[in-house]
């Protein structure tokens, strides 16, 4: 499935005319099967709003989303949400459903209104839990597992409807470093092995370097930029959009290479001198 946004723009104001749009430019992009688009931008830039507009949880004030060339608003709700999965930020629930019960909910587009989930639905839920690696937690209450596990459960919940597109709102925020990596690896695997397109909000340029085929950068009063990672995440653009000095660093060893951004402002006086300098030296030498 490919998803295209044509001249999309949004406004929270209710006025009919004279609307001040949220985004400086109208939004245009196409996301193809198996591709990952990451959305970067400072707080309040409208990243979450953008995700919601793309999948129709909010209505574009202007423009439209096309799913395989068809206007998303004309696709039936059930069909649409079989093909698209929405992963919100992990949150606690009022009622502590078990992880399995939570994941089975994702089968709703396949279960008619007055029916109960069948054995097959529960089977699918267990498969999805195995895919994300938390099948052993199936009977635990989703309020008693860790934040990272809860995020994985929410991803599993979208997988049970065999989606072709996942929309993820900061899936790795609030997680410790190890859990962040687990989530990122799973997302990349879903895109590359299962061909699921992903649109991901993130605060971390590093994660965009790892995941993204395309990057969309937005900030209030700045034109929206879309392009591949190398074009999009540059020191100049980060300075302009985020107002901070970031240094791009490439580190590579024999079988891998990692690109990352280091905030200069977090640099401290070189009292740890010898140690620090050596590190930079070795980095430089590797780059050569």
């Amino acid at each position: 499935m490919n998803i295209t946004v044509e001249n999309g723009n949004f406004s929270y104001s209710k006025k009919k005319d004279n609307v001040s749009f949220l985004y400086k430019d109208d939004i245009n992009f196409t996301l193809n099967q198996g591709e990952i688009l990451t959305v970067l931008g400072p707080n309040g830039a409208g990243k979450t709003t953008l995700l919601k507009c793309v999948v129709g949880l909010l209505r574009w004030k202007k423009g439209k989303t096309l799913v395989d060339g068809v206007d998303l608003m004309t696709v039936s709700y059930k069909d649409l949400w079989r093909r698209i999965g929405y992963v919100p930020q992990a949150h606690k629930m009022v009622f502590g459903f078990t992880v399995e019960e939570l994941v089975v909910m994702g089968r709703a587009p396949y279960i008619s209104t007055l029916r109960q989930p069948s054995k097959e639905d529960r089977q699918k839920a267990m498969e999805a839990l195995e895919t994300v690696g938390i099948a052993h937690l199936a009977q635990k209450s989703c309020n008693e597992i860790s934040g990272g596990e809860r995020q994985l459960a929410l991803i599993a919940r979208t997988l049970v409807s065999n989606p072709e597109l996942l929309i993820l709102d900061e899936p790795e925020s609030h997680l410790d470093v190890q859990k962040q990596i687990v989530i990122l690896q799973i997302l990349k695997r879903l895109a590359k092995e299962y061909g699921i397109a992903c649109m991901i909000n993130t605060h971390y340029p590093n994660h965009a370097f790892y995941l993204a085929d395309q990057v969309l950068i937005t900030a209030k009063d700045f034109p929206m930029f879309i392009g591949n990672v190398q074009e999009a995440i540059t020191e100049e653009r980060m300075r302009a959009y985020f107002g901070i000095e970031l240094k791009k660093v490439t580190y590579s060893e024999a079988n891998y290479c990692i690109e990352t951004m280091i905030p200069k402002d977090l640099g401290i006086e070189p009292t740890c001198s010898v140690h620090c300098f050596r590190k930079t030296d070795s980095l430089a030498s590797v780059n050569e």
Binding site: Y86, V94, A108, S161
Partner: protein, 335 residues
């Protein structure tokens, strides 16, 4: 082990119902009860070992009362469970949207104008449904009115009808009408008859069946609205279907038995403490425990003293300590 529990839970109200026939000033043994019931409802010829008086008490007085207690108890409990799920809030009870207050006002007004009678029930029923319509209008007929708007609209409606109830009490004749209104507002099955059943049972049963079939869907409604939408369900339609069903049940219950508090609030919690949070199981268990609980309370109401005790007093006096005990034991097991 779970199977055993389920059978036990369904047997509980049934067994209790048979025992309830033997409670009361007019003594009837359980064997006679079963014989009377069998001879009038089953195609058996049973030798008559009971008096006609006993037959009348069983069939005309105790049977309709027991049936109504079971229906209303089960109905209020399942609507409470449905509302708690829908509003994603464990403190909600079936009267949150103003149905009880509306029906209560309808009844008080009818008592004031016409005295006791069939009118009271019809007007109570209509005002209960009218109250929900008012809540609907206040909440803004907009398609996506947020849930908090609905709750606030319910609070407004309740407050309005509570005030109107007070007004009817204020102008009521204190010797005759006022006690009738006050007594009625506290809930009682003392006048239960088959006419009540014909009026209330169809509405309560329709509501219960719809809610029972929707029980898994209501799990989805506990999620934040965007998430629920992303499950491919039409949240607004589902919400109003739940409200419609719960309103039928509550309005019909209030119309025939007055305002009965507590059942819709605590029984779903008791159910959750037993079977967890999945409404697929919470709903059937709520029905069974709710039915048994109200029947038990009603038995006390008519047998403890020579005067009938209003139901709401007993549901709270018996329910509060029991619930406090459960809370203490399970540390609020629903989270």
């Amino acid at each position: 082990m779970k199977k055993k529990w389920i059978i036990l839970l369904w047997l509980l109200p049934v067994v209790l119902a048979f025992c309830s026939f033997c409670i009361g000033r007019f003594e009837i043994t359980i064997v006679d009860t079963i014989k009377i019931l069998a001879s009038s409802f089953l195609p058996f010829d049973i030798e008559q070992t009971w008096t006609t008086m006993q037959e009348t008490v069983v069939l005309q007085i105790r049977l309709p009362r027991i049936i109504l207690a079971l229906l209303i108890g089960g109905g209020l409990a399942i609507s409470g469970a449905a509302f708690q799920g829908m509003f994603g809030n464990p403190l909600v009870s079936p009267d949150i949207l103003g149905v009880s207050a509306g029906a209560g006002f309808g009844a008080s007004l009818a008592i004031l104008l016409f005295g006791q009678g069939f009118f009271v029930q019809i007007i109570a029923l209509m005002m209960g449904i009218g109250a929900i319509l008012l809540t609907y209008l206040i909440s803004g007929v907009k398609k996506n009115a947020p849930i908090v708007m609905l709750v606030l609209a319910g609070v407004v409606t309740s407050a309005l009808f509570q005030a109107l109830i007070s007004l009817t009490k204020f102008v009521a004749d204190p010797d005759e009408k006022l006690p009738a209104i006050t007594y009625w507002l506290m809930g009682s099955l003392g006048t239960a008859s088959y006419r009540d059943i014909y009026l209330a049972a169809p509405l309560i049963l329709i509501g219960m069946i719809i809610l029972y079939l929707l029980r898994w869907r209501i799990n989805l409604l506990t999620l934040p609205e965007d998430e629920a939408k992303s499950m491919g369900i039409s949240v607004t339609r589902l919400k109003w279907l739940v409200i419609f069903s719960a309103t039928l049940i509550t309005a019909a219950s209030v119309a025939v038995a007055g305002i009965i508090g507590w059942v819709g609030l605590i029984i779903p919690h008791v159910a959750r403490m037993i079977v967890g949070n999945n409404n697929q199981f919470v709903f059937p268990v709520s029905i069974s425990i709710g039915a048994a609980y109200l029947l038990f309370i009603d038995n006390l109401a008519r047998s403890v003293t020579s005067v009938e005790i209003p139901l709401s007093i007993l549901t709270a006096i018996i329910g509060a300590p029991f619930f406090a005990f459960l809370l203490h034991r399970t540390k609020g097991g629903w989270s």
